[in-house]
């Protein structure tokens, strides 16, 4: 990674955070505030008349009671004699009452507070007109320019005249008005916030361009991105100040990665589907709104960020966006409205499952959930055809629950030392994730394996976990087990119910589990009795290959093994005995050669090969 870019990223993040706080501070200082008026005594009748006639000298000439007391030249009363003052005062009150009736057109109850305030002072804004802070739209434009200028230094090539970067900034500028409602006053504190979120998205867009030399974003793609992704983040800003502070913190953490995820997806789709519309902004909006609404929701167990971790939330969001891009219709109702609730329920359902299995809290569980969302979402139309009554999001939550529960059950099946049994103790988080992935990859090709009422996915995971738990001697590494699981899943997909049954209740008796355990039993006995000193053959790569061969053979005729589960055991024992007697003739390669040659027949007929047949196979 270019160090300048990294430092620049930190500086940019600093600026974005500080800019938001600065703008909020500006709003606090510059909004209209109440300034109280002077409160001076109204004065005696003479003083009031003096002021009234100073302001309305024309009245003095037309009204005898006033003219008798007014000196128009000196602009002062001629006398303070009470008989003249009292008569003039009565006339003044009449005039004032008339003026009041004429000028006051407002409904009394509606204008009560305003009248009170006007009587006591004025609401006054901070700045004079030529120094007023720029409007929301101009501020956004300044932000775009500022960010563009930052990038010029580090990435001059993407910001030349007519370049990809310049086009992106222009596209942002063209579409930023979509973030601002018609009634700007109603936007309130969202004005500053929108500016900040826009900045985050532009940085993400320019960053994507900098790292993808061939990517070009179209104006209409940016429109959809701003409408579908940026706007929901702005609109989800809560009303109250304390909730806003919390939400701003969340956006600080999530908006950048969310923007990057959206742009990465946009870049991938632009490259993959030339000429194809990027996505429906309503579908993107449904996913984004759901995410940013859900992150605000806090239960007694915390928010989804506490369950998935920030990294996990973004991974799930990315998966949701991917489905929205590929199949926008899944997020739309019959009336073409966005189904925000759908992705919210998917997030909350997944969070509930992970809360129940703390071993999978954080990025691992979130990544598994994201894989499920991708697989189920990708195959949603096929699933809906197979089972029209099963909503795809419920299938996803159920599948995820089944995978996690099966793995968690296996991991919770502990030995006397409190460790997971067999090979499962050697699985890292990444390897558990990979195990889930190889099975889900297979499921993606055979969507019929998914379902709410019955799930072969769960059967496969449970069966494989059962088999792994028997590998007490760790004859196979975690990676080797993952490859075997891949083969098992493939065979299971092609042969529904044959290898792992259709129920998870009896995995002990499932064909694949029985055979795998049988092979492991033989391998384990050989290893236990002699260790490496007696040149054992059935472990590691050889054992992996043998297991793959037997699993693949289970797709064929299995009449004999169904009735005599120890057939494979007998066959292997015979081969290993021959190998130990003739070590110079029988290595791991020879063992596998003979095993592969006869396993199909053994499973079908129950007849073990003769010594002659074995010798012939070895020589072939």
């Amino acid at each position: 990674m270019d160090p300048t870019l990294l430092i620049f990223g930190i500086q940019a993040a600093l600026r974005a955070a500080q800019a938001g706080a600065d703008l909020y501070g500006e709003h606090a200082r510059d909004r209209k505030v109440f300034l109280p008026n002077l409160e001076l005594p109204t004065g005696s009748r003479s003083v009031q008349l003096q002021q009234f006639l100073t302001d309305n000298p024309q009245l003095a000439s037309s009204t005898p009671e006033l003219s008798v007391i007014w000196d128009d030249e000196q602009k002062e009363l001629k006398t303070t004699k009470s008989e003249h003052i009292d008569a003039a005062y009565a006339i003044m009150l009449e005039h004032k009452a008339k003026l009041q009736l004429i000028s006051d057109g407002k409904d009394e109850s509606d204008a009560k507070r305003e009248a009170k305030m006007l009587a006591a002072g004025r609401m006054v804004e901070q700045w004079r007109e030529e120094r007023k802070p720029p409007s929301a739209i101009i501020r956004m434009a300044l932000t775009l320019t500022d960010i563009g200028l930052e990038f010029v230094g580090s990435n001059p090539s993407i910001l030349g005249v007519g370049s990809r970067g310049e086009k992106l900034i222009v596209a942002f500028a063209n579409n930023m008005s979509s973030l601002i409602p018609d009634d700007v006053d109603a936007f309130g504190p969202k004005t500053d916030f929108a500016d900040r979120v826009l900045g985050i998205f532009l940085r993400a867009g320019l960053g994507t361009l900098a790292s993808n030399a061939s990517t070009v974003f179209k104006d209409e793609d940016v429109t959809k991105l701003l409408e579908g992704v940026t706007k929901p983040i702005v609109e989800a800003l809560p009303e109250s100040i304390d909730e806003q502070i919390h939400y701003r913190d969340l956006v600080d953490a999530l908006a950048g990665p969310s923007a990057e995820a959206a742009f990465r997806l946009l870049a991938e789709n632009t490259e993959t589907y030339l000429g194809k519309d990027f996505a429906d902004d309503k579908a993107l909006g449904a996913v984004t709104s759901a995410l940013f609404e859900e992150v605000k929701t806090t239960t007694h167990d915390g928010s989804i960020v506490d369950v998935f971790s920030e990294q996990g939330v973004i991974r799930l969001y990315q998966a949701g966006l991917g489905v929205a891009v590929e199949r926008p219709g899944l997020f739309m109702g019959d009336d073409n409205s966005a189904k925000t609730k759908l992705f919210k329920e998917l997030l909350s359902g997944t969070a509930t499952t992970l809360r129940a299995h703390p071993r999978f809290k954080g990025p691992v569980g979130a990544s598994l959930a994201a894989m499920v969302v991708e697989v189920v979402g990708h195959n949603a139309s096929a699933l809906l055809r197979l089972s029209p009554d099963e909503p795809w999001e419920k299938v996803a939550v159920t599948a995820m629950e089944q995978v996690i529960t099966s793995l968690a059950d296996a991991l919770n099946n502990l030995d006397a030392n409190g460790s997971a049994k067999g090979a499962l103790q050697s699985f890292s988080d990444g390897q558990l994730l990979e195990l889930g992935r190889v099975i889900l990859v297979q499921v993606a090709q055979t969507p019929g394996m998914l379902g709410i009422r019955r799930s072969e996915v769960q059967s496969i995971v449970a069966g494989m976990a059962e088999a792994m738990a028997k590998d007490d001697n760790l004859l196979l590494s975690a990676d080797e087990w993952i490859r075997i699981a891949g083969v098992a899943a493939k065979q299971a997909a092609s042969n529904p119910g044959r290898l792992f049954g259709l129920s998870t209740d009896d995995q002990e008796g499932a064909l694949a589990a029985t055979v795998i355990k049988s092979v492991l039993g033989v391998a384990g006995d050989t290893w236990t009795e002699a260790g490496r000193s007696n040149r054992p053959l059935l472990f590691g790569e050889t054992l992996e290959a043998a297991l793959k061969a037997v699993i693949e053979s289970l797709a064929g005729n299995v009449t004999a093994i169904a009735n005599k589960p120890d057939l494979v055991d007998q066959f292997l024992q015979k081969l290993l005995t021959k190998a130990s007697v003739n070590p110079e003739k029988f290595g791991s390669e020879g063992l596998l050669k003979v095993f592969r040659a006869f396993i199909g027949n053994v499973l079908a007929s129950g007849t073990l090969p003769t010594d002659q047949e074995i010798n012939e196979a070895l020589s072939a």
Partner: protein, 265 residues
Amino acid sequence: MRKFSTRFIIGVILFLLAGCATVEDVQRSTDLIRTDNELTRLLVEVRPSDQVAAATYLTVLANDAEREADALKDIQGKEPDAIAFYRIAATAYWRSGNPKVVNNLFKTASNGTDLCTKLGKNAPDRDCLFLRLVIPFAGLESNANKKGLSGLLDSVNFNDNKKTTEEIETMAEIRGSLNQAKPLVQKILIIGTDDRLLSHPGMREYYCANAKQAKGYYDSTAAVFVVKVKEFHENFTDNTPSLGITIDDARAIRNLEKVVPSFCQ
């Protein structure tokens, strides 16, 4: 590589520090909004019906705002926030009507205007204009209410062909009071020459309403004082006892060197 690591770590530390500073900034802005809202509530809702309680609350609020402002005034870049808190403190001290906090009123207004001078053309318009007005406003109100000029004028009647010593002393007291009020009104009017008012409709409206009120109050009170002086000289030709002021002197007191700006008409 080591150089890069050092730069990266410095960047991360700066980021974390800035994060803390940002939270502090947001909280301070929230405080400013809340304090302003509370000031408005006290002035509009509480004070009209309960001046005694409002005076207590306003003094407490002013103390808080002054503390906030003092804490910010020397921090680079935070001067506008400090000025806003000084504006709130000065308003609350002024409107509390509490004679014990007069010094605080002067101090906050002075600190605020000093910061405005320091910021020069970047000084916030409304807050800085208001901080210039608040002292003459408070002075004029105090003068008008303490002396009760209008009542004093009413107590003098030279049309009854009598001139008592009390009346002549009262006239001297009114003259002294007008002489004190005059420079305060002139200070208010001179602010009308500030160009910022030309293009700030809200502040202009506020200024004009109050400048007219100040000028109207002073002018009409001084004009009635002139009439009383005139009536004295019309009714009494002997100088025993003497009023000690001619009609021209009285008109000179009335005459203000500054006028309400034309944009207020």
